[in-house]
Amino acid sequence: MLSSSLVTVATAVLVTIGAWCSVLPGQAREARNAPAPGSNDVLRSVPFDRFTLTDGMVLMVDPVSPRPLPPYDPSKEGKRKARSARQAIPDEGEIIVGVAAKNKKNADPNELAIDEVKLHLFEGAANEVLDFKVKRENVKKIEYFEDMLLQECDQLVATHEYARAFECCLRVQMRNPGWHGLDDRVNHVLFAEGSQALIEGDGERGLRLLRELLGRKRDYPGLLDRISAAYGKRIERALSLALYPRGRRILRELMELAPDHVIVKEMRALFISRASQRVTETDRSSGPERLDALAEALRIWPALDGVEPLYTKAFAALPTLEVGVTDVAAPLGPWVHSAADARVSRLLYRPILASDDDEARQGKKADQLAAAIETSDLGQRLVIRIRPGFFWSDGSRPVSAVDVGRDLIDRTDPHAPGYEARWVELLDRVEVNDESRLEIRLNHSPFKAGAWLLGPIGPAHAGVDGRVATSSQDRPLVSDGPFRCVATAADLVELRRRDDDHTPATGAAAETPAAGSTAQTPVDGGTAKTPVDGGTAPRAPQIQRVREIRLQRGQSAVGVLLRGDVSLVDHVPPDRVEALEATEHIKVGTYSKPVVHVIALDGRNPVLRSRSLRRGLSYAVDRTTLLEDHVLKHAATDADLVADGPFPKGCYADAPGVKPLEGHMWLAKMLVAAARKELNNAPIELHLEYPAIAEVQAIVEKLAASWREAGVAIVTSELPPSRLESGLRAGRRFDLAYRVLRCDEPVLDAGVLICPGYDAPPEAEALASTSSPRILQLLLQLERATDSPTARGLVLQIDRESRDELPVIPLWQLVDHYAWRDRLSGPGKVADELYQGIETWEITPWVAKDPWDAH
């Protein structure tokens, strides 16, 4: 066996050049870790070449050089040898005086002839010769390492292992970027992986890979078809989801990639046909349906011929304001359970008093039901005269004292949606003297009695939900405000200005446009023009219709505003305000009252009665870091800052000298451990509910993580803001609830700020949800306060003691913003509520054009 091997080698090897130095150290290390040459895992193997000799012997050798070896033709080798045998005598001669003659016998034995190749075997026994020179004529086949990698790449592509296939290509590229066939393999891998990603539904990645291939080789067979088909699917999907701008953007991209492809034409036609279909549908409709259809047609394809004038005309007939809101009021009725209710109720219902001041009591404010209020018996007897001329939206009858009396009594019914526990304690009786006069007797003289008359008043002839059955299926909401509700759904509220409402506009807003309002230029063909030069041109149309559209999950308020889907958004996340203010055609306004973010605690859960646990939860929150890094994304300011209590800085209820709440995780852990000890070492598990508001979504998991680190198991769940807040106010049980609160009048709002179910029916036992008995007692004392100094003193005491009692965990206070497109004129830079002065707002028709079309 041994002799046979030796003979074989002897026939192949001409000269032994001795043992080469051993392999390089690094190579040795690599060789130790890497699979042996010839194994299946070429990708991780040490580089090697495979030589097959003419006698069939296969040699694994170190990669030869040069790579690839120059071409060798045995037939031409004879002539070359003959030429080399007749070596020409150099011009200077072979003998030169003074120069030693070259001794051919001393020539370098390592020198290779042109028909030789030097091989270094990969494996061999100790002291075995590993280096050989091999005649090219004895080499039957050479398999280079690069070729083996590319071959492996093909196999990996066939098995959909694209990452490893790319690694093979990458390795070839690192060894020899110009290796023959590398580019083709890369293209192949890109195409195969891109195609597979598209099949698997990962369109973004698939298209990215195919686009890369397009950049490398535009004429790759089938590439344009594949890309176009994929883009076509994406466009169809966007269309089905009504994401028209996105669909058009994709189409635009496709047009840039393959402008003449048939799918481009098909998709374009699809857009136009969809838009045209909407326009066709408008032939059968009128009014708001027609306007909505035309607007949608233009939203689908803004450049649709001849539609813009139709839209402008329809818009002029029914100027519509589309508002993107965090949440819509659900259910809608004559009550205020959430911020959404508060926003809409002023449009739908008129209160008894527009505000709690003397002017309103004397009936000097137009938009209120009371013509005058007389107070006697130390404020315990109120006589209200009702102003004539207001009618219910169903046209049945005018608003009268009966409606007011019924509503005030309904608020004492625990089963009515408008139940208010404080009002029950306060009200003695209501006597309706006649259609225009009623008398209210109170049990005691409250501080700010007028504040109880600011809420919406529902019709007496309707159910407790404020609706009147007109047919077996139809129960419209009946209201007496300047607008009426025409549609409500889970994500939409549509209001229409009442034709029969002739209330004069109130205040200075009617006469002078609000600060920050700008002139608008309507689209061409519009009949409504804004005066530019102060001339007598007709004014832009006032708003006749309001559509509140709830932003879907993942939809950003800023995004829909920028796209032009809506003209007004009720809330701008604080980290987007700066960028939005700098955006052309967008204006940002500020609510006059900041919002305070707090975590409400339910004291009905005995765990949360533990003072140690509440302190632990508070200490676990590093407010400054969370606020600056995740909510604001810039340093805190005088307006956006960490809170130290339930009341915002700057209001009279904010007690001075209260130490800021700090974050100490180690102290939090200690306190939570102490609380667990109080609870017999039972694990503490709490459920945190939070509203679907952008900045809350950004922070809530960080909060939960902090509490988990402190030793409290937290489960989070997201709810629509209105549903969360109305549920809490109804007194339902919870553990922890993230609340975003606005405080208008601290004395009146303190209870609801601290105890969400403060006005809930007694069955809910919501008062017990105040986790600090001391604060609850102070709140109840405050409720009975009759004079301003006492009330203010108590509210200050509540703020001061809340720092240590922690009935809620304060987080931070933020200035709240809203924003609008400049097609809408009227909203002020600062407002108490979103629709403040809507009577004077004007809006021009406008179509959101694609930027490439605009240019």
């Binding site: 008062l767 105040t770 001391r774 007692q777 109840l780 240590d804």
Partner: protein, 542 residues
Amino acid sequence: LNPVVRLTVALAVLGAAAVGQVRAYGQETAKEPAQSPPREAIEQRPYHISVHLSCDRSARIDAAGRADLLHDWQILVRRLIGAPWVLSIAPASSPLANLDPEGLEPQAFSSLASFDKVWVVRIARSESEGALAFAGREYDTASRRLGPLQRRTALTMSDAPRALLQFTQDLFNPIAEITGQEGEHAILNVQGAALLPATPAGAVVSKGTVFLPLRVVSLTNGKVQVLRIPYTYLQVESVEGPVARCKIISAMRDPFTKRILRPNSLAALGLKAGSSPIQLRFVTKPNQAPAAGYTVTARLVPDGQPHTLGTTDRSGRILLQPGFADGLVILRLLAGNVEPMVELPMMPGVSFQEKDIAIDPKPLTVALEARIDSLRDEVVDLVALRARLEARMKARLEGENWTGLEEALQEFSKLTPRDTYAQRLTTLKDEASQQQRDLKQAVLTRTAQAQITDLQAMIDRYLDDDTYKAYADALDRANAEVTAKTKATAKKAGGRPAVPKAVGKSGPPARTNLPPNPPPTAPAQPNTTPPRPRPPAPSQPF
């Protein structure tokens, strides 16, 4: 009067009252017990019980089923109760049987004076569980009082006799004479207690049985008035023969006062937890304003753990659902977090008509306690912070990390010193005392004083500076040691003055900012320098 004479008078009065009832329900067909002229002693006397059992239609028990049930139940009574109960079953047509037990009035039982007890039991089908539901009440003819509403369920008909036995045991309440008082204890002579029951379960009185004391007053017109002694209960501590020794549990100072004008005697009626909700209303003195937002807790007598029952609503009311405890409890109304306003003994599920319970709201005390709580929170936080720093100082000392120790000491010195808290606590106390003197009303209540004492103890125990001083001294000694070594080295080298240019790797840095925390009265350190400073003993964990 001699107690024996008084007892005789009381029994005679009770007997006369029972006999003097007007017969209103002539339809009673149950056999009345024979009137034996010489009545035996009370402890020898069994309870003659008239049972009025009705079955609601929903129970689906016909006459035969009722008869079977009563038969089986009577067998169980004989086997387990025995002599103390002498039962008489009224027919199903008894007018009493068809009355709603919840709405019963004592007048309805006026015709049944010959019995000691009358039980009205109604069986219906429980809607929620589909089980047989027993509901009923006991009427005690001697005291003319209705017992609490009792409920029990039986899942199947075969369980009904046993459930009925348990139910009637719940219904049954013994009656006794209060024969004497020894300090905080009352001595009761219980009817039927001398009769030997069939099993221990049939004993009429046992340890833990609760009695409601009654005062039987003879009026001028010859009638007898049975008055309940408010907020007072007797709980049996031991039983010796027919005599039960009971602990008096009362919210009154002298519940068995003898300052009564009319001739009177004391009796007691057993009481068990019932199934009726209790509504209480608290008002504040002197304006009778509702005591809203107060926490009500309960603890079982004698040594149960308090637990929260709820919070008074805006009108000062709280509704206590039955079942929050299975025995006598002490209800406590808390203001703020801890201050007790009033303590009342109460039997759960036993409804009664009480007036508004007036309390002194003690607003100053409550405010004081809130401030003490806040101060205690600060102290607790400081204790934790100091413990953390002490652990750090110990580690650095052991590792001879002098720079780190110096930093930790400086950090420690920046903490609020102990004296500040002590001063704040003293100020709180002084202000409260001043208010107490000025307003002439209690501010420093027992609870507030206990809180102050606890907090003072905490400050004294956990905020001492000994540990800090020890570490500071250790650092000083280490500094001195290094300086001495440097001098010695310099002297050895050439007699030049040793002025180290830089502190060595292991040498401590010069202390630039000595903490002001140690008081000037710190004890002098011994002159002998130990070879290596040792860490002081760790503070006791809080």
